[in-house]
């Protein structure tokens, strides 16, 4: 049941020694219920995108060239797979750094013998990494959005524009909220340090972060990779 010995003393419940039926912290159960609702949220957005795939009356289009009369001029397929693959990689790496951040908080009080131990055990380092990688992903998204607008695709242009920007925009908003959440944890780490007793809070932030990452994998596959 316990992910690491450091969690045992708070395993009993949110207020320390209070009894819970499952032995788990209530916040953990709540975040899973929340993630359940988020699954349905993104499922609805993704389903709409898939239903509207190929049904835009005018261009630009994601994977096909747009020729008059669907567009005023010829427009190349607007999605840039190589660049988005890079941003996808960045987001996936942020999940790795999130795992390391959680482990660092849980194992804060274990002895660190080597330089490598100290690097791996620095919660501040890995929280920074996750925030920076998340922000980098958001940077790529802004670049992509602005270049699309420049090329003639806005949220109101056609079904593709509406469904694409709403879907990826909602995802980006979730990443932004995650970065703010992690930034808050980082601030607490600087203020008073994150103790193993705080691991539950880092844990639920991590679950949220991984969820947002998994959603991106689904979006990247269905929107970018599958023609």
């Amino acid at each position: 049941m316990s992910a690491s010995p450091a969690l045992d003393h708070i395993e009993a419940g949110p207020h320390g020694h209070h009894y819970t039926t499952t032995g788990l912290d209530s916040r953990k159960i709540a975040i899973w219920a929340f993630i359940g609702s988020e699954c349905m949220l993104f499922a609805s957005l993704i389903s709409t995108y898939l239903i509207y795939k190929g049904r835009s009356v005018t261009g630009p289009f994601p994977h096909e060239t747009c020729v008059p009369p669907a567009c005023a001029t010829v427009i190349k397929p607007i999605l840039d797979i190589p660049v988005t693959s890079a941003s996808t990689f960045v987001l996936l790496m942020s999940s790795l750094s999130m795992v390391l951040a959680l482990a660092a908080v849980e194992n804060r009080n274990l002895p660190k013998y080597t330089f490598g131990d100290r690097v791996l055990g620095s919660s501040k380092l890995w929280l920074w990494m996750t925030c920076i990688l998340g922000a980098t992903f958001l940077g790529f998204q802004s670049y992509e959005f602005t270049s699309f607008v420049h090329e003639g695709l806005t949220i109101r242009t056609n079904l593709f524009g509406s469904s694409f920007f709403t879907l990826t925009g909602f995802h980006g908003a979730h990443v932004t909220a995650g970065v703010i959440w992690l930034g808050t944890l980082l601030a607490i780490d600087y203020r008073r340090g994150l103790e193993p007793a705080d691991a539950i809070n880092v844990d639920i932030a991590a679950l949220y972060w991984h969820f947002v990452d998994v959603v991106w994998i689904a979006i990247f596959t269905l929107v970018y990779l599958i023609k």
């Binding site: 209530s26 709409t48 509207y52 049904r55 005018t58 509406s162 709403t166």
Partner: protein, 643 residues
């Protein structure tokens, strides 16, 4: 009949509990929050009922001229929206809040401040969506808001904006509560309270929370698409740009069908508490009742397109959804039989709660029969969009949900307020209600079959509808009288009804083992549960002899939870005396809720062409929201104890 005695109230226990308006604004106590939900939702029930009375006054005679077509659309929309989102769901929430922790042997819900937040968002959201009717700007696209009718092209003005934003606000309330109750039921059960020992109300509520978690996000997205079409000019429902006219309908009904199970299951749960208690017999077929509830929840996601049989989905879709709709009647019918078998051979006591519970069994069955007739696509082609459908859903919602909720109110009023409701007035309420309800809605089966369409503001004479409409309108008038009797009974009993004991109904479950109303800490000692009917084990062991009980010892769990075997507590102490740490009252959930609603109000002003006010409200609301949210999250729930 007892004289007026000083009965314990939330204000006057004299044991350190707070009194006054501020104590209600800052409460995080699930019992008080339940009472707040009850009062607010009863108010909205009456408001929605008055909207219906105006509708019935308009339709009493052919070519009525009481209200204009536009006002009728607003009344019709708000009646549905009010009853579903502001009356029935929050009435259920009143019971979720008050009862669930008591029934599972807990001191409060998992997240008390989030619980308060849910209530305040509901109140402010309810006001947000209701006040516009006083300015003639109420939502007017039906409670189901079909696009493209509700898109900017066909609905200029702010009416639909209020509807879209109001529902988003109310969705936040329901979702937050769902996360709270799922966690509470999974994680805060007393030792020995395994899932198959939980009272039926808690079980049905558990299923409902999952329905909320899975269904509400879908309507959130449907509304986001409509919001974006209206505010940002997107193309989701834009036919000219290739938008699918059915997208809204599918998304809405994928939410909308589970929503009706959200509306009925809590009432089913309440009936499953009232019938066994007043039959002096355990519920017949408890495991089957649990499984059928779960099955209804599950199948509820597979029937949505039966609301769309007339749109031309094609024979395969029509057949599949027709079949699934027939299928879902089975677990529902099973419940009806189990309730009947519960009463069969029992020693029946016809309290008002019992009458309402039996009323549900009868009237919901009638609604279910018309419901099953809709399951056939060809039959539904005649029925859809007629008053036959209106008859069906009023039988299941009024004859079902409302009857069940009244059963719950009469049954649990003593526990909530420490006094008994008057049984004679209750009887008048029930019988008038029963007769009036049938008078109002039964004729609609006939006018519907004779082709009277829904949602029309007037009709010509000579179509065979006149008499039926007149009877319905008379019935609606009688419903007003019945409800007035209830309201009178409620407030009079609140003030001076006979003082209630711990367990006036000799009921079997944990909430009846503590004083009425319960002290703030609920249980002085967390109970150790050994069966499904712990109080009957103590007082009527013959009734529960056949039900499995725990045989082995409990010492480890007992120690972990400081639990004692189930016992009746009559003393009223304070939490401090008992060394129980209670959550601190706080105004922050209310302020965060206000911040959210202020932000949404700002959006309305964008369409009112006042960008200054709009952005002030949006950013001001956001600042309040974020500031107080941080403060809430970073402050402790209880005073930290020194270990």
């Amino acid at each position: 009949m007892a004289t007026v005695a000083a009965s314990p109230t939330y204000a006057g226990t004299g044991t350190g509990e707070h009194t006054g308006l501020w104590s209600w604004l800052t409460t995080v106590d699930h019992k008080r929050i339940g009472v707040l939900y009850l009062y607010t939702s009863l108010f909205f029930f009456i408001f929605g009922g008055l909207e219906a009375v105006v509708i019935r006054a308009q339709l009493a005679r052919p070519n009525g001229s009481l209200v204009s077509a536009e006002m009728y659309n607003q009344l019709m929309t708000m009646h549905g929206t009010t009853m579903i989102f502001l009356a029935i769901m929050p009435l259920s929430a009143a019971f979720f809040n008050f009862l669930i922790p008591l029934q599972i042997g807990a001191r409060d819900v998992a997240f008390p401040r989030l619980n308060a937040f849910s209530y305040w968002v509901y109140l402010f959201g309810g006001l947000f969506i209701t006040l516009p009717i006083f300015f003639g700007a109420a939502p007017d696209g039906g409670w189901f808001g079909y696009a493209p009718l509700t898109t900017p092209q066909f609905s200029q003005g702010v009416n639909i904006d209020f509807w879209v934003l109001g529902l988003q606000i109310l969705g936040i309330s329901s979702l937050a509560a769902a996360f709270n109750f799922i966690t509470t039921i999974i994680n805060l059960r007393a030792p020995g309270m395994n899932l198959m020992r939980m009272p039926m109300f808690t079980w049905m509520s558990f299923v409902v929370q999952f329905l909320i978690v899975l269904a509400f996000p879908v309507i959130t997205i449907a509304l986001i698409f409509l919001q974006f079409d209206r505010f940002f000019g997107t193309t989701f429902y834009e036919i000219g740009k290739g938008g699918d006219p059915l997208l809204w309908q599918h998304l809405f009904w994928i939410f909308g069908h589970p929503e009706v199970y959200i509306l009925i299951l809590p009432a089913f749960g309440l009936v499953s508490e009232v019938l066994p208690t007043n039959s002096k017999k355990p519920l017949f077929g408890y495991p089957v009742m649990v499984y059928s509830g779960i099955l209804i929840g599950f199948l509820g996601f597979g029937v949505w397109a039966h609301h769309m049989f007339s749109v031309g989905m094609g024979p395969i879709a029509d057949t599949v959804f027709g079949l699934t709709t027939l299928l879902i009647a089975i677990p529902t019918g099973v419940k009806i039989f189990n309730w009947i078998f519960t009463m069969w051979g029992g020693s029946l006591r016809f309290t008002t709660a019992m009458k309402f519970a039996i009323g549900l069994v009868a009237l919901f069955t009638i609604g279910g029969i018309s419901g099953v007739s809709h399951a056939s696509p060809p039959a539904d082609l005649q029925q859809t969009d007629t008053y036959y459908i209106v008859a069906h859903f009023h039988y299941v919602l009024f004859g079902g949900s409302i009857m069940g909720i009244f059963a719950g109110i009469y049954h649990y009023f003593p526990k909530m307020f420490g006094r008994m409701l008057n049984e004679r007035l209750g009887s008048w309420h029930f019988w008038l209600n029963f007769i009036a309800m049938n008078l109002t809605f039964f004729p609609m089966h006939f006018s519907g079959m004779l082709g009277m369409p829904r949602r029309i503001y007037r009709y010509d004479t000579g179509q065979g509808w006149d008499t039926f409409n007149m009877i319905s309108s008379i019935g609606a008038g009688l419903l007003v009288i019945a409800t007035a009797i209830f309201v009178w009974n409620f407030f009079r009993s609140r003030a001076s009804g006979p003082v209630a004991s711990d367990n006036p109904w000799d009921a079997p479950t944990l909430e009846w083992s503590i004083p009425s109303p319960p002290p703030e800490y609920n249980f002085a000692e967390i109970p150790l549960v050994e069966s499904r009917y712990p109080l009957w084990d103590l007082t009527h062991p013959d009734r529960t002899a056949d039900i499995p009980h725990t045989k082995e010892g409990w010492s480890d769990q007992q120690r972990a939870a400081e639990a004692k075997p189930v016992h009746v507590e009559t003393e009223r102490r304070s939490a401090r005396e008992l060394g129980i740490s209670m959550p601190l009252p706080t105004i922050k959930p209310l302020v965060v809720a206000a911040g959210i609603v202020i932000m949404f109000s700002g959006l309305i002003f964008i369409h009112l062409q006042n960008k200054t006010i709009a952005f002030t409200l949006i950013f001001g609301g956001a600042a309040i929201l974020v500031g107080f949210l941080y403060s809430w999250l970073l402050s402790p729930l209880e005073l930290e104890e020194a270990h």
